[in-house]
């Protein structure tokens, strides 16, 4: 198990009702974190429609997560 801080943004934050939480997760990749927290962010989207950053750096869903990492879950973006 790894201690992972998960941060939720925009609609994910509204669904979760919190900005962030620290969880003990059996997760190897960012995609695992997304799936483990699906009941929180309640995204019906596949992970591929969303983006992820680890420790403030853009990452891929296949990126490994390490103990102590902060994983930022970004719903589909729409700037401009």
């Amino acid at each position: 198990m790894k201690t992972i801080t998960v941060r939720y943004f925009a609609m994910f934050r509204e669904h979760a009702g919190i900005e962030e939480e620290t969880l003990s997760l059996d997760a190897a990749t960012a995609a695992d974190v997304f799936e483990h927290t699906r009941s929180r962010h309640r995204s019906s989207e596949p992970a591929g429609h969303c983006k992820v950053a680890i420790n403030d750096e853009m990452a891929d869903w296949a990126s490994p997560v390490r103990d102590g990492d902060t994983v930022l879950l970004f719903p589909p973006v729409a700037g401009g």
Binding site: F74, A78, G79
Partner: protein, 144 residues
């Protein structure tokens, strides 16, 4: 460079910052808040962004544009917070020796910003409802 601000964007000030004696032209794009989206009458837009990642990703996009369409200088400013109809939400400006690079780099930067920066907008409608806007291009390009 890219920066985010909660203050009103003043294109005249930003334009002057790009002045360069070697520049033969300048191209800018302003994104404005529109009063309609997909049949819904929009009252205002609320922008949320995550600055640390947006600034880093913005730097990457500007570097990519410089590689593809060598320009002299480029700036981008994205607004966050509650915006009214007609407000400028995003500004991109590029100065270059010749116009072709300025047009192309400006187009590249705004297109990439819209689907890569961690920025979200929530539409507030005249009927009191609100909703987050999804990026169509992200959905088109998505897989899995």
């Amino acid at each position: 460079m890219l920066r985010m601000t909660t203050d009103a964007i003043d294109p005249d000030v930003l334009r002057r910052e790009l002045f360069d004696p070697a520049a033969g032209g300048y191209c800018a794009f302003e994104g404005w808040v529109r009063n309609e989206n997909e049949g819904h009458e929009v009252l205002r837009l609320e922008y949320e962004g995550y600055e640390p990642v947006a600034v880093a990703e913005g730097r990457t996009i500007l570097a990519e544009a410089a590689e593809k369409f060598p320009y002299l200088s480029a700036h981008c400013v994205h607004r966050t917070g509650m915006l009214e109809i007609g407000d400028c939400a995003v500004w991109v400006g590029v100065a270059s020796a010749h116009r072709d690079e300025a047009f192309k780099a400006c187009r590249y930067i705004i297109d990439e910003l819209k689907h890569r920066l961690p920025i979200w907008k929530k539409e507030h409608y005249t009927n009191g409802d609100s909703g987050w806007v999804s990026c169509e291009r992200c959905a088109e390009h998505a897989h899995g």
